[in-house]
């Protein structure tokens, strides 16, 4: 079943940034509830750039705690700061998701053991110190490295969410078909297959009519094997696309209330 990772609890948004500054849990908790009701399966939690590195760990722990007080959903702990990651994992209830590692060896060697230690799922980006590869084949090669390293740390492919890196269609148009093909290839890498995910709204950065581009990308990616996405859970029409695509792909059994049921998990 397709898993929506709700993107809204992120310090990049002004209301969340203010809430962090004022230690006011309400905006985080309102978004937690709203996204849960809209069909989110995970809640992405990101401190944003406001805090200094030292403060981030404490802020992340606070954010995870207040978010889970409001909604009975697991968090996708989204930070490049490993200390903040670990503090978030420590206070998290249930199975968390780490967001994210890349295929750089140092990162994999730090974050995969953390995932194994806390029993967390983990997002793994198909990039390394050389950057984001262009072709589907190079993305898949990095996915294979991620898969092999995760396996070495005892992480099951079903807990590994490989992100082939969606880039904006207005500046990196040639990446579109490569990403879609990479999703197909990643789903063939192992049995059970690794999961796939992406930052969906990247596809429409700085474009007019972003919702339309996001919806179209989501449907196309799901056909290729996309299992989840960090996305706007409160965009009703976007969630309807995910619900309908999962019916057309025979991932869930049709009934007249399918769109409503899709949101109740």
């Amino acid at each position: 079943m397709f898993e929506i990772i709700g993107e809204r609890i992120n310090g990049l948004f002004i209301d969340i940034r203010e809430a962090i500054k004022n230690k006011d849990p309400k905006p985080l908790q309102d978004w937690a509830v709203k996204q849960a009701e809209a069909g989110a399966y995970w809640l992405d939690v990101n401190t944003g750039p406001v805090a200094s590195k030292e403060e981030q760990a404490e802020i992340m722990a606070w954010m995870v705690k207040v978010t889970q007080e409001a909604a009975d959903l697991p968090c996708c702990i989204d930070t490049t700061n490993w200390m903040a990651m670990e503090e978030g994992l420590k206070v998290h209830k249930g199975k968390a998701m780490i967001n994210s590692t890349t295929a750089e060896q140092a990162k994999m060697d730090a974050l995969f053991p953390m995932a194994a230690n806390y029993g967390a799922a983990i997002v793994a980006l198909t990039m390394n110190e050389k950057g984001v590869p262009k072709s589907a084949e190079d993305r898949s090669a990095l996915a294979m490295e991620l898969l092999a390293n995760a396996d070495a740390y005892g992480i099951s492919p079903i807990d590994l969410y490989i992100d082939p890196l969606v880039l904006p269609c207005n500046v990196a148009q040639e990446h579109g078909p490569e990403v879609l093909e990479a999703i197909r290839q990643i789903k063939l890498l192992s049995n059970p297959a690794p999961k796939t995910t992406c930052g969906l709204s990247n596809i429409s950065q700085k474009c007019p009519n972003r919702p339309l581009i996001n919806r179209t990308m989501l449907a196309m990616a799901m056909v290729c094997g996309m299992d989840s996405a960090v996305m706007d859970a409160c965009d009703d029409e976007l969630v309807d696309v995910a619900a309908t695509a999962s019916i057309i792909l025979n991932q869930s059994i049709y009934c007249d209330s399918y769109a409503k049921i899709f949101r109740q998990r």
């Binding site: 059994i253 049709y254 009934c255 209330s257 049921i261």
Partner: protein, 309 residues
Amino acid sequence: MAVNIIKERWTSKVAESTLGPDGLKIGGESTLPFMHFEGEMPNRPVTALEVFDMEPADWPEMLKAPYADVLGDPVAWAKKVVDLGADMVALRLMSAHPDWKNASAEEVAKTAKAVADAISVPLIVIGCGVEEKDGEILPVVAEALEGKKALIGCVTQANYKSITAAANGYGHNLIASTPLDINLCKQLNILISEMGLPLDRIAFDPLVGALGYGIEYAYSIMERARLGALTGDKTLATPVVCFVGQEAWKAKEAKDPDVPEWGPQDERAILWETTTATTFAIAGGTIFILRHPESNKRFKAFIDESMKA
């Protein structure tokens, strides 16, 4: 070289339900039926034998024979089927049918209460099959049976509201019935659960057919629902009721005494009912409502073997 057994990894399981005052457990499996190496099947499939609240008009002589002394006395009949080894009693309120006695809700509720008080196993109460009438009588029956944690049915899209409200209020489980259509089946489970009755208090009846009479359609639906349940579809992860006796004894192969080329009816009819039941046990059935005590015995022997790991 050792053979490496390939195992399917399921992410979810069927809801576990409890029935009756003593809490008989059903469902809860985390793999397909009897795949003990792959997952858990914590509770065995269970049987019920049918008891009519009036002498059944269309039963062949062979089916009436084991109950000859109790036909027309539902309390005695219910005690008898428990003695004959049924896990539950399925009381069918046929007298309420407008074409038979058109009995009132109060009359059938009184019978249901008397039967429930006479037995210690869980009671299944089945209406007369006329949707509108069942919508009237079953809420009254539910009230009379408060505390018995009965399984009441069949509820359809036409009459689910009144019966669901009563089942919820008086602590019973429901049988949700749809005509051989998995999408309608799922939708009815959803409609009932949206009225506040938890999914683990619903068992669905996909309308089974007997061997030779569309059994494969019901088999596919049951299997599809089980695959859905095991991969996370909670709205289909409820126990399944199979009205095997009702269907098998409609078949001419079971009810016709005078077809020598098919062999003696005694053996043929029992085989028809038992084979229909075992087929649905393999497809994912949970509660098997049978009619003949010998079929019950043979089917339970099959379950005994199948439950061995």
